[in-house]
């Protein structure tokens, strides 16, 4: 019995060793994906650690004084931030193009110079990029404190006594005492700075693992919130109060829904990701029937009819697109009913994005089918490519938490553009065309359409060379 089992084991091992696709799935795919995930999550090969990812922040200087310039340069010097000084930062954040935007109001420099309390700095944040937002506040806090501390003493102390809910009569004495201790606060803030840097690094490392649970946290985000608003108990924690103490007003930009319901970044991302990734798997698998038909001889039989010709490939394109549309309709209908995903808000835009993605994904499927020799070869290759594209294209976790080069690499994948289109419509509330307040998804749609056309042209050329002239 054991001898027989060993004989059968040898047989299976021989068969397995000669099956390249099985070997690929057993050995290459997990290692390859492990490398990608490890790099994405901040680990580096050979224990080197990867370069820290940078959070994109836009800074708008409405003050244009030496003091505001000084602040801009201080923000620029933060290694973890990629700073762009520009106008219209609120729009950039609202469009999802930047994780945050800092506005230095007019009068900021004069107020600091005169020793009076400066007007609040405004930090716009994208609630869909919560991890990036947290990292950003951690990084900005010490810099802002250093830049504004000298002129903020009295306001800080007033705010502290207010928060402590002290009797009006005793506030004067306590304020005096606190101001007396003010110099020690700078020492404390040095400690805060170090701790913040540590926390930021930790938050960055854990970003990927937190991404999965981000949906739940995002669900609680009100349409437009101030980060210093009291919680349900009416209390404000020190971390929430800190920006206010530094004269930083935080505004989370979440576009209001027409139906008044809260917008859920998590659900929007999840359904966008499913629409993108699952569609790719299904369409590539379906396009693979071309190879199956070739192996079974039915493709030759079709080619032998006077009317089939290249209509064979066109027929495959049409049916894969039709299946894609059906899948997207079912998915978004379920999302709308079960998770209140706002699919009706910009239906024409969603329809256009669905059509563009169905076209691009179908073309990609046909490209795989015409480039590969066998169905098994196609399954191995397409699985790897789809998973990698999904990872770097933002279907697994938001692109902004990936290393910078990953984000750039993601742009060469159709997945990134499809995610931009769907997430832009479902979370940011974008239409096809830009409005004065909000960008549109025209660019992703054009990229998907033209990319799909290129892939389709290559697929037709390959079909002619490898299927018709073989």
């Amino acid at each position: 019995m054991i001898q027989t089992a060993l004989t059968l084991l040898r047989k299976d091992l021989r068969l397995f060793a000669r099956d390249r696709t099985a070997l690929f799935f057993l050995l290459v795919l997990p290692v390859g994906l492990g490398a990608i995930m490890g790099t994405a999550m901040g680990g580096g090969m050979m224990g080197g650690g990867s370069k820290a990812r940078k959070i994109a922040i836009a800074v708008e200087d409405l003050d244009r004084t030496p003091r505001s310039q000084e602040l801009v340069e201080a923000v620029r010097s933060i290694e973890e931030l990629r700073v762009e000084v520009t106008a219209g930062v609120r729009r950039l954040v609202a469009d999802g193009d930047r994780a945050g935007g800092l506005v230095i109001p007019a009068g900021y420099g004069d107020a600091l110079s005169s020793g009076s309390a400066p007007p609040d700095l405004v930090l716009y944040r994208d609630p869909a990029k919560q991890i990036a937002s947290q990292v950003m506040v951690f990084q900005l806090s010490p810099v802002l404190f250093q830049q504004t501390a000298k002129g903020l003493g009295s306001r800080m102390m007033g705010r502290v006594t207010e928060l402590m809910d002290l009797p009006e009569a005793s506030r004067g004495a306590i304020t005096k005492e606190l101001i007396g201790s003010y110099l020690r606060v700078e020492d404390i803030m040095d400690g805060v700075e170090a701790a913040a840097a540590e926390d930021a690094a930790e938050a960055g490392t854990e970003a990927g693992t937190e991404a999965g649970t981000q949906a739940e946290r995002d669900d609680d985000a009100p349409p437009v919130t101030s980060a210093t608003e009291p919680d349900a108990t009416g209390e404000v924690g020190i971390m929430e109060a800190l920006p206010g103490l530094m004269g930083l007003q935080i505004e989370d930009l979440s576009p209001p829904r027409a139906d008044g319901l809260p917008r859920s970044a998590g659900a929007s991302h999840a359904f966008s990701a499913m629409a993108v990734m699952m569609l790719l798997f299904n369409l590539v698998a379906f396009a693979g029937t071309l190879l199956e038909e070739r192996a079974e001889g039915t493709l030759d039989r079709l080619r032998l009819t006077p009317q089939a010709g290249r209509a064979v490939l066109l027929g495959k394109l049409l049916v894969t697109m039709l299946l894609a549309i059906v899948q997207l309709v079912v998915l978004f209908t379920f999302g709308a009913l079960a998770f209140r995903v706002p699919v009706m808000e910009h239906l024409p835009a969603l329809a256009a994005a669905s059509f563009a993605w169905a076209f691009a994904a179908s073309a990609l499927g046909l490209l795989f089918a015409t480039a590969c020799r066998t169905r098994k070869q196609m399954e191995g290759l397409s699985t790897l490519v789809i998973l990698v594209m999904s990872a770097v294209g933002g279907a697994w976790f938001p692109r902004e938490i990936l290393p910078e080069w990953f984000q750039t690499a993601g742009l060469v994948t159709p997945v990134a553009w499809a995610m931009d289109a769907f997430h832009g419509i479902l979370w940011y509330g974008k239409g096809v065309l830009s409005t004065p307040d909000l960008g549109g998804v025209m660019v992703p749609l054009v990229v998907l359409g033209s990319g799909g056309a290129v892939m389709l042209a290559v697929a037709f050329a390959l079909y002619q060379r490898r299927f018709e002239s073989a």
Partner: protein
């Protein structure tokens, strides 16, 4: 030598369903067909024989527009398969070696699909699908999925799917491979019937008996070349064939066998009259009958 007048040459050419000169095809470094010449006349039935790798299927694929030749001239029904693909495909039929049917479609759905792609529409399409189901003996199973069919049923459907548009020339690539004798016999009768109707046939098989029964002319190929070509009688008369055979006595039809045997015995030659020995297939069909056996492949779970 006098040149052949153009009119005579054209008249000869018009009587040729297939005319091939110096055909060559190579796959990588492997030559599949090497300088093949072939002529098939209208209404003729040519048997193409040869061992595996002889170049039979490659030749059929070139003639039927599926493959481009590397060199040589090819005319099929007066057309160049490499240049006039769509026009030629509407006039030829190909019965492939594989069961080239959609197993997830029903029998009639398969026939409708291939009929429509062959240019049939409306009432004509319905009429030809009906003909196909009757010819294949599958009228009762018209709504069954092909995946539920036995090998013989699939082969029969595979045959008629190539004949729906009534082609003038049909290429049959081992159409009876792997089926039971009843289905093979049925298939063969259908092929004989379309040949009697004037359709030109090119038939490849490893079953020599089928070629003997069906084909007017035979070409034997090996390593991409033609070894011999002609009628069965011509091939039998070839010197290298005769050299390998024993001798025999041929009598005229209707001769009195008992008397001939008696005369031979009188002259000291041992002789007796026996009934002709049937081949194994004849024995099998005599015992099991000629009716089709259409049991599906479904296995009770």
């Amino acid at each position: 030598m006098q040149p052949i007048p153009a009119q005579v040459r054209d008249a000869e050419a018009s009587s040729h369903a297939i005319e091939v000169r110096g055909l060559q095809k190579t796959f990588g470094d492997v030559p599949a067909v090497q300088g093949l010449d072939l002529v098939v006349r209208q209404g003729e039935s040519l048997g193409l024989l040869g061992p595996n790798g002889a170049g039979k299927t490659t030749t059929l694929r070139i003639l039927s527009t599926l493959l481009r030749a590397d060199a040589g001239t090819v005319r099929v029904l007066g057309l160049d398969p490499a240049e006039d693909g769509p026009a030629l495909r509407s006039r030829i039929g190909v019965v492939p070696q594989d069961i080239a049917l959609y197993h997830g479609l029903r029998a009639e759905e398969n026939l409708s699909l291939f009929g429509e792609l062959s240019g049939l529409r409306g009432a004509r399409l319905r009429e030809r699908v009906e003909w196909g189901l009757e010819t294949a003996g599958l009228v009762e199973r018209r709504r069954s999925l092909v995946s539920e069919f036995s090998g013989g049923m699939k082969r029969r459907l595979n045959l008629v799917a190539a004949l729906l548009h009534e082609p003038e020339l049909v290429f049959l690539d081992e159409p009876t491979a792997g089926v039971d004798p009843q289905s093979r016999n049925h298939l063969f009768e259908q092929v004989e019937a379309i040949h009697r109707g004037g359709t030109t046939l090119v038939y490849t098989t490893h079953a020599m008996g089928e070629v003997e029964r069906l084909c007017d002319r035979i070409m034997i190929m090996d390593k991409g070349r033609c070894l011999a070509e002609g009628s069965l009688e011509v091939l039998r008369d070839l010197e290298e064939v005769r050299a390998g055979l024993g001798s025999g006595l041929q009598l005229e039809q209707g001769a009195d066998l008992e008397r001939v045997a008696a005369i031979l015995r009188e002259h000291g030659v041992g002789a007796e009259v026996r009934g002709a020995a049937p081949d194994l297939e004849s024995i099998f069909l005599a015992l099991t009958g000629r009716a089709l056996r259409d049991e599906s492949q479904e296995v009770p779970s």
